[in-house]
Amino acid sequence: MLGKTAGGLFWMFRYLERSENIARLLEAGFRMALTRAASSDEEWASLLTTSGVRNAFFERHEEITSAAVIDFLLRDKTNPSSVLNMMDAARSNARLVRTALTREVWEAVNESWMALNDALKHAVRERELPAVLGEIRRQSSLVRGTLHGTMLRNEVFDFSRLGTFVERADNTARILDVKYYVLLPSTASVGGSLDNVQWETILRSVSAHRSYHWLNEGDVSAASIADFLILDRRLPRSLAFCYAEISSNLNYLEREYGEELACHRQSRQIAEQLRSVRIEDVFAMGLHEFLEGFIRDNAALGSQIETDYRFYG
């Protein structure tokens, strides 16, 4: 396949994943703001940090208000990661790689783009926010569903999935990193138990709130939450899960092309670390340092894939 096409697919699915994750983050943040009005500014601020658009936000706004953050994350054309911009970019990439997609996948992306442009035509009021966020998640599922249901399991599929999981691993790591202090043993020991609302937000941001409780039967500890999000391969948004998927897609490409490239070695290293490390080791080396290192390695893998498979020439 064309290098351009592989790159177009990779980024199209990164954009789609990011827009879905922004919706999830907003959902968690919104819930938090509703349940504890007093410190809600801090929550909105941490949303901006997690999405990596804090500076861009303050170029446009003097102060943080819920309405400004919501609008910035969902609709603002000057925010490169706003949901609207992500959808525009995803659809534009889908047009670029139209010949690699089934008609169903293309139509799903095109319809999502139309539906979200419609839903986000005007500023979203708080009252409408849950419905709009639900719509974003639904559209995202629609695209994913058509991808799984109609695409050949070949390199086209692999490059698409690689985009999804490189982006998702990055997003989950960022969510944790922004909130890592909540999970530090010292914080927990001060109050005796974790701040309920804080860890709930973390779990909700990755749609793992119910599954965590189901698995842990009500026991909540910093170590077990970090373990769940970083190392548990059953959770589809954990770092370990993402790397299991990345490895499997890269392995397929390696076999198919009969060539081991730098990106294969890099991904094996990261996957191996996630397999062998225990959560105690992570805390011992410092949760923040671990996550920082992971985000860096993950980004490096992304650009290595771009080079190895000649996305740009």
Binding site: L2, K4, T5, A6, R95, R98, E107, N110, Y257
Partner: protein, 477 residues
């Protein structure tokens, strides 16, 4: 259902003395049993279908976000088997002559020696491509794909407006229009025996494969070259590549590599055998033509001349559909086929000739004036519809550069009804059938693109000027 008919124009569905023309009879019967309100609803349905599938075109000179739909009308344009057989014989004859003409023009120029066309018509023509001199493209085919523009003025009276021998567009609309009709009105296709058009992409693939260059080993690798996603016809480029199972490439995906034109794939460079290019000659090779072009591939012309790739359509085919050449086509047909032309040419005044210019200036309000190198209905004057100011402005243009224009009488274009809120209403139409040429022969798709001027009384059918499209049926014998 009732409809007003304008007596001056040939209505392809309804006869002026009442009654329905033969090819439309089964359809009209069905239409009588339908509720007009429901049909109007279908029109909205069709529009949302087109939007969902992304069948849009970009409008030049507007922001990238501007994607428009070409309006679709649900009343089909129906052509009988008899009409079609004479039409297609005429088209085939014309296309065969055009290919012979192109070969001659780039080789011995017998037609000029025989005095049938003036030498400077070729020598001073921008569309003439010196790099094609003495070179014969693989299979001897110059125009792999032709879209002949036709209009009808009466029972069995067809005229060729343009030959479109460069990169004719619109075939994706022909295919999607049929797809839409099949989805919305499946029952119509059991009542009428309509010849299918859906095998066009397969045939295009076969036809292009049959023109593979000498360097091709094994199954030919085909790619469609597009200027990119902001081009007005990008949807069509991606659609055709997808339907043919070919790669869709842009200039920067390609380079000359080991004597072949190759595309950058995830596994390295892979040679292309046949390039169906949808960029103009000028942008094809920055080394040979437009140096600033980023749409093309430096060095492709050398590879081409060395037999390393087939370019479809061949560079320099524009000399055959140039508006200045148009008026000579009947001579060209006779010269190369030894037969009388089956299809009519529209009488054409060459403004480069002083007598003709004087006549045109005198009769400007009755004539259609076209730029010799223009396309898409831009820079064109429709005399009877123009204001006094427009006429005066055009008169100046004509006097300043007479050689840049030709003029033709306004033809009484036939009408086919469209569906409006007020019921059926007649609108002017043209027809663009698509022709595939390979060394193995000429294939004409039974059907084509019917463009319709949606504005009452308008004669301009171009999509860039508010035209729409219709499904075009050719009935089985």
């Amino acid at each position: 259902m009732c409809m007003s008919t304008e007596a001056n124009f040939f209505n392809e569905m309804l006869q002026s003395q009442g009654g329905t023309r033969e090819p439309y009879q089964a359809y009209a019967q069905w239409l009588d049993g339908e509720d007009p309100k429901q049909l109007l609803k279908k029109l909205t349905e069709a529009e949302s279908f087109f939007r969902r599938t992304g069948i849009t075109f970009n409008v030049y000179g507007q922001s990238e976000a501007t994607e428009r739909l070409i309006p679709f009308d649900i009343i089909p344009r129906i052509i009988s088997a008899r009409e079609w057989s004479s039409l297609s014989r005429g088209i085939e004859q014309r296309v065969r002559a055009i290919n012979a003409f192109l070969h001659d023009i780039y080789h011995r120029q017998e037609i000029i020696r025989a005095g049938r066309i003036p030498a400077d018509l070729i020598a001073h023509n921008e569309a003439f491509e010196p790099r094609m001199i003495g070179f014969t493209p693989p299979g001897g085919v110059y125009t792999h794909i032709v879209g002949t523009d036709l209009v009808c003025t009466g029972e069995g009276e067809f005229y060729v407006l343009e030959d479109n021998a460069r990169t004719p567009s619109g075939v994706s609309y022909m295919l999607e229009n049929r797809e839409t009709m099949l989805q919305m009105f499946p029952e119509l296709f059991t009542r009428n025996r309509v010849r299918r058009v859906s095998d066009y992409p397969d045939r295009l693939r076969q036809s292009l494969s049959a023109c593979a260059p000498p360097a091709c080993e094994g199954k030919p690798v085909i790619a469609v070259l597009t200027p990119g996603i902001y081009n007005s016809a990008y949807y069509e480029h991606s659609y055709l590549a997808d339907q043919m199972g070919a790669e869709l490439v842009e200039g920067h995906d390609l380079r000359v590599h080991e004597g072949r034109v190759a595309m950058r794939t995830t596994r390295g460079f892979k040679p292309i055998d046949v390039l169906y290019r949808r960029v103009d000659d000028n942008y094809l090779d920055p080394l040979s033509f437009e140096p600033s072009s980023t749409l093309g591939i430096p060095g492709i012309m050398d590879v081409y001349r060395a037999g390393g790739i087939t370019i479809a359509n061949a560079p320099g085919t524009g000399i055959a559909d140039d508006k200045a050449i148009y008026s000579y086509i009947p001579d060209i047909v006779e010269f190369y086929t030894g037969e009388k032309p089956i299809l009519n040419n529209v009488p054409t005044y060459r403004c480069s000739e002083p007598d003709s210019l004087a006549f045109v200036l005198d009769h400007l309000d009755e004539l259609v004036v076209k730029e010799v190198h223009g396309s898409g209905g831009y820079g064109m004057l429709v005399g009877p519809a123009a204001s006094k100011r427009e006429l005066a402005k055009f008169r100046q243009k004509l006097k300043a550069r007479p050689g840049a224009y030709i003029a033709q009488p306004t033809l009484a274009l036939s009408t086919v009804p469209i569906m409006t809120k007020q019921g059926l209403a007649p609108r002017h139409v043209d027809l663009r059938p698509y022709v595939l040429v390979s060394g193995q022969g000429i294939h004409i798709v039974p059907g084509g693109l019917t463009r319709v001027a949606l504005k009452k009384g308008s004669l301009v059918v171009n999509s860039s000027q508010g035209g729409g499209t219709k499904d075009t049926w050719v009935l089985e014998d």
